[in-house]
């Protein structure tokens, strides 16, 4: 292989001369079976020879096996039909002879004359399809497709070995034909055509004499388009691969291995990759030595290939050569030796799809070599391709002996293809420089920005900066690899891998990934990394680690020390919690300590209480979150809460009472008292602030310049802070650490609301004690609730109506608690407020309006004082009067209506009586309407309907009615 060969070139094929004719006969055709084990030679004397191809230490040799005369004319074409165990031989006189492979007994296809070329469909089915081009005239041909059956040796009983299936007329001379899948592509005089259901269809018009071969594995054909270019297309005429750029006009095109083989004018064999059409190899081949004496421009060159690509056969009239593909793993090794990584990876990818067993080993070997060439990212990509069975992540431990010493003896030692020579320490590797000054491809774009001049110092030592960059990049990539593969099943020495990850991430300053890793389940050996983490200024990572080892006390101690700035977190190169928190380690410590205290169930209460002390001082809100999340002894927590400031205490008590965690009256009472105190303090503070504002206004009037100047400074500093936050995305995106630690300010109104809610809802506090606390204050509404709770409604109403002057609330109160007496009390209170206050007539009228319908007018009138201005009460009183009059009139109407109904009843009664007296006539035939007994001589009764009933029946009726009445 020439050094000037293109990138990725390699020995893909080996050429062996396997046969030399020593008799007078000349080779006129060759064929080879699918496995490349048997070679068939067609000779000019119409003889067919079979040779066995044997692999010997000196190469492949052809051993004669059988010989049979099949025709009187030379055999110019041989096709193997492996599926039916036959061979088709084309003779010089245009006949086709079928032979069974074992006996080579020839049987001619009947009625077939003028055959010019053959093609066998690549299929394992039986019978096989054989296409034969038949010349009919100077520019007329026909293509026949035969079914070829197995021979008698296979138990086949067909009389004929082949049966014609179909024939297609072709209006041109067929130079060659190939099966592309199940379709036939024809090489005509100046064009390629394909046989379709609707006839011949144009495929391509080349600018040279057509020549083609099929790539059976891909169902595509290689079609020569111009002298130095061939296209690869399917039978629909769609390009399937990039075109082949040939150095000269090809004499033959064939398929072999995973390649396309072209023998070109000038004498070389050119091997092209089937997938990429890239030239892989050039093999010198002296075609000029066997030129055709009849046509000096054409050499006498015969060829055969197999659909499996097992080998390619080339033959001159006197000699035969075999081109055998080199095993792909050997090619891959060769490429790796030459550091042609891209080509090697391409080859491995193609073979991986076929499930070649060496591919995982290749990736391991390539990864290790790429590591030695400082191509870290590519190396890691290769190693990630390997299964754990082939490459264990711990095999990288020798790169870092200081951190992996204790596992050194357990690391499996594998040399794979023996190309990398074992790993030395990373420091030494980088310090020495790249292992090879290779002539292969140059490294790809370097992600760490190492200049090519630095990279290409060759085997010499890299500069210090390049060395440091290499170390950094290597550690980052290896850490990424270990992080990605450690979850795979079957990984050995997990503790060593996890420990190494911590060392690597800490070493490269990747605090973000380090902390994420340590916060997840892992098997890091704490003792091995503890000191390093502290030395490298990663106390937070260490705290996460010890916390994951269930050493909560230690983790909390670390966070406490971080929060108190006793230990410092150094700025990280990449990410990290402290960086996210804008560099404030205290925030991080507080957040994580609180999280652990709140969520970790294994932490005992004593430890929680101990750490709540510093959390209370530094992050009251987080303190509250913790105590709310855990069920701690309330008195123990309250013991941590001082009387001042009150906010934390009342919030905790509020949580206790509202969540139902305490039923102790003292806690309920204390909550009320603490809230009262908090409100009073807030009031006092608000008063002070108001005074200060007033004073500031005065100052502003007196010296406005000073005030404005200060204000603008404040504005400016606020603006600066905002712009700095916007400019720094880390600060802007502090996320979880941005949550406030301090308790939010509570307004006076909110405090009132909480207290009032508590006083309403709780029944456990000491009302009198709380009342004593609020009585002399301005907490009037709270007083109302408390008076109400004591059923001292007049005092509650007095506070509402007289002190607060909230008559509406007082009325509502009366409706809920007071009744008529309450209203009258309220009315009295409004008319005679006492303490020298003026009567509140308007409010009194509101009371009357609200409830006038239900109040006794007399008592109202009695309640109204003589001093009350009549115009104020006029409307109300008038309405009350109207209503009373209306009620009286309504009563009288009802009485009259009753009277009228009574009179009507009486009238009806009298009328009935008069009717009965005038009409009763009894004869002998008169009978009782009920029992039908004669009435004569008996007492009877007459109904208004003139029905007459005997006394017996009437009595029965009456008794029955009386019983009904009784039951009603």
């Amino acid at each position: 292989m020439s050094t000037a060969d293109p990138e990725g070139s390699r020995t893909a094929f080996e050429l062996n001369a396997v046969h030399q004719r020593r008799d007078q006969s000349r080779v006129t055709s060759v064929g080879v079976d699918g496995d490349g084990q048997r070679l068939y030679i067609g000779l000019d004397a119409g003889v067919l020879e079979e040779h066995r191809l044997m692999q010997t230490p000196s190469g492949i040799v052809a051993r004669f096996s059988a010989r049979r005369s099949v025709s009187k004319k030379g055999v110019v074409g041989i096709c193997l039909l492996s599926a039916v165990n036959r061979l088709a031989a084309l003779t010089e006189d245009g006949h086709v002879v079928l032979c069974e492979l074992e006996q080579l007994e020839p049987v001619e296809i009947q009625k077939l004359k003028g055959a010019t070329c053959l093609a066998v469909e690549v299929s394992s089915r039986s019978p096989s399809h054989l296409a034969v081009a038949v010349r009919l005239g100077s520019r007329k041909s026909r293509v026949d497709v035969y079914e070829v059956f197995p021979g008698a040796a296979s138990g086949h009983t067909m009389r004929e070995p082949a049966r014609l299936l179909v024939e297609y007329p072709v209006p041109d001379e067929v130079k060659d034909l190939v099966w592309v899948g199940q379709q036939l592509v024809l090489c005509l005089h100046r064009t390629y055509k394909v046989i379709k259901a609707d006839g011949l269809r144009d495929l391509l018009e080349p600018s040279t004499t057509p020549m083609c071969t099929a790539l059976a594995s891909a169902n595509v054909a290689v079609l020569l388009w111009e002298d130095t270019m061939a296209v690869v297309a399917d039978a629909d005429g769609q390009a399937a691969r990039p075109p082949l750029n040939l150095p000269a006009k090809p004499l033959r095109l064939m398929q072999g291995g995973m390649c396309i083989v072209a023998v070109c004018e000038g004498g070389d064999i050119h091997i092209y990759d089937q997938g990429t059409s890239r030239l892989l190899q050039r093999i010198p081949f002296p075609v000029n030595g066997f030129m055709n004496p009849d046509d000096p421009s054409q050499p006498q060159l015969f060829h055969a290939d197999t659909p499996t690509g097992a080998c390619v056969v080339l033959a001159s009239p006197r000699r035969i050569w075999i081109l055998r593909p080199v095993a792909p793993d050997n090619q891959a090794q060769q490429l790796l030796r030459g550091r042609s990584y891209a080509a090697a990876l391409e080859l491995a990818e193609q073979c991986s799809a076929k499930g070649e067993p060496w591919v995982p080993i290749f990736y391991a070997q390539a990864g290790l070599l790429l590591l030695q060439d400082f191509r870290w990212r590519e190396a890691i990509e290769c190693l990630e391709h390997c299964s754990i069975e082939v490459f264990q992540p711990c095999e990288l431990f020798p790169l870092f002996p200081a951190w992996t010493e204790k596992w050194a003896e357990q690391v499996p030692l594998k040399d794979y293809w023996g190309l990398h020579g074992g790993l030395i320490t990373l420091e030494k590797m980088v310090g020495v420089g790249r292992r090879y000054s290779y002539g292969g491809e140059s490294p790809s774009a370097d992600p760490v920005g190492i200049s090519s001049s630095e990279m290409d110092r060759g085997p010499g030592k890299p500069s210090t900066s390049a060395r440091d960059k290499h170390l950094l990049e290597a550690k980052q990539q290896i850490a990424s690899y270990l992080l990605s593969v450690r979850r795979r099943a079957g990984v050995r020495l997990m503790d060593g891998i996890d420990t190494l990850i911590v060392h690597l991430l800490a070493n490269v300053g990747d605090a973000g990934r380090l902390e994420d890793f340590l916060a997840s389940p892992q098997q890091v050996v704490l003792l091995d990394v503890e000191q390093q983490l502290l030395d490298m200024g990663r106390p937070h990572a260490l705290a996460l680690l010890v916390s994951s080892h269930r050493a909560a006390a230690r983790a909390l101690d670390l966070w406490q020390r971080m929060a108190n700035s006793q230990i410092k977190e150094k700025p990280a190169r990449l990410g990290g919690a402290v960086s996210q928190a804008g560099g404030d380690a205290t925030k991080v410590a507080k957040y994580h300590a609180a999280k652990l205290l709140a969520e970790e169930e294994d932490v005992d209460d004593e430890l929680v209480l101990r750490h709540l002390v510093w959390l209370r001082d530094l992050a009251p809100l987080r303190f509250l979150q913790v105590v709310k999340a855990r069920s701690l002894v309330a008195d123990a927590v309250l013991g941590l809460l001082p009387q001042q400031p009150l906010a934390l205490r009342w919030r905790y008590l509020d949580h206790l009472t509202t969540s139902g965690q305490t039923l102790k009256p003292q806690h309920h009472t204390e909550l009320a008292l603490v809230l009262v105190q908090a409100i009073l303090e807030a009031e006092a503070q608000s008063t002070t602030e108001t005074a200060q504002k007033d004073s500031a206004v005065v100052s502003a009037v007196l010296g406005s310049h000073t005030y404005q100047s200060k204000s603008s400074t404040e504005e400016s500093s606020r603006g600066d802070a905002a712009s700095s936050k916007a400019a720094n995305p880390d600060v802007a995106a502090v996320g979880r650490y941005d949550e406030p630690d301090e308790l939010p300010a509570t307004s006076e109104a909110e405090l009132h609301s909480v207290l009032q809610s508590h006083l309403h809802k709780s029944h456990l506090y000491d009302v009198l004690r709380v009342l004593r606390a609020v009585e002399s204050t301005k907490l009037y509404k709270e007083q109302v609730i408390l008076y109400c709770r004591l059923c001292d409604h007049p005092r509650a109403l007095r506070v509402l109506a007289v002190t607060l002057r909230e008559v509406g609330s007082a009325i509502a109160y009366c409706k809920q608690h007071g009744g008529q007496d309450g209203f009258l009390t309220l009315l009295e209170m409004l008319l005679h407020p006492g303490d020298g206050q003026q009567p509140m007539y308007t409010e009194a009228c509101m009371v009357l309006n609200a409830e006038s319908g239900n109040l006794d007018p007399m008592r109202v009138l009695e309640a109204l004082s003589e001093d009350m201005p009549l115009q104020l009460a006029n409307a109300t009183l008038a309405r009350m009067l109207r209503e009373r009059i209306h009620r009286r009139r309504q009563t009288r109407i009802v009485a009259k209506l009753h009277r009228s109904r009574e009179l009507l009843s009486r009238a009806e009664k009298y009328e009935l009586q008069s009717t009965i007296k005038g009409r009763a006539v009894v004869t002998d035939e008169s009978r009782c309407a009920v029992c039908f007994n004669p009435l004569a001589g008996r007492i009877f009764y007459v109904y208004p309907s003139s029905s007459m009933v005997c006394a017996t029946c009437q009595r029965g009726f009456r008794e029955g009615r009386e019983q009904e009445d009784d039951s009603d």
């Binding site: 199940q182 046989i195 990039p242």
Partner: protein, 203 residues
């Protein structure tokens, strides 16, 4: 989450246009992020692939040779293509005329559902100095609108609108491509003359 590569839809994309219009540079910029001032002429065609996981598409890109002698090969590359980018050079009116011819040819013989884009390349050459521009943007846009093409001016050199061009095509691709019909096989059910002649003899 990124979709499985195996589930990615493959889409055949072909670049057509005058020689030197920058087809290979556009593809190289898109696929490898590279640009060479002196890009060798493409011989025949070049083939590259580029997955766009965010669109669940893997482009199989055929970068055709612009030389006239390769014109007859073009149908092999645009046949069955889901999309075509017709490239012209904004500083060459001839290349625009050639691009129009490609559009006509595709409309006449190509896939009716093919997504076509018209890319005016080398926009960097007219950025500061419009005197070298020979194809006004408005004219190209009007042509593209008239023929239903997506139009954009690009610069492979400065990576202007290159990714956008391919991404726009990816967006316009139908969600699930209709699977290609099987190539079929040689019809073997024709009347069999051999049998016919034998029956003739027996009759």
């Amino acid at each position: 989450m990124m979709p499985d590569l195996a589930q990615q839809q493959s889409a055949k994309l072909v670049l057509l246009g005058e020689m030197g219009s920058g087809k290979s540079s556009l593809v190289l910029r898109f696929v490898k992020g590279q640009f060479f001032d002196y890009q060798e002429s493409t011989i025949g065609a070049a083939f590259l692939t580029k997955p766009l996981p965010e669109y669940n598409v893997k482009f199989e890109i055929w970068d055709t040779a612009g030389q006239e002698r390769y014109h007859s090969l073009a149908p092999m590359y645009y046949r069955g293509a889901a999309a075509a980018i017709i490239v012209y050079d904004v500083t060459s009116a001839d290349s625009f005329v050639r691009a129009k011819n490609w559009v006509k040819e595709l409309q006449r013989t190509g896939n009716a559902n093919m997504i076509m884009a018209l890319a005016g390349n080398k926009a960097d050459l007219v950025k500061g100095d419009s005197s070298s521009r020979q194809v006004p943007t408005e004219e190209a846009r009007a042509y593209a609108d008239e023929h239903g093409l997506y139009f954009v001016e690009t610069s492979a050199k400065e990576a202007t609108n290159v990714d956008e061009l391919f991404e726009e095509i990816a967006k316009r691709l139908p969600k699930a491509e209709v699977p290609r019909q099987s190539s079929g096989s040689v019809p073997l059910e024709q009347t069999q003359p051999a049998q016919a002649s034998s029956s003739k003899c027996c009759s």
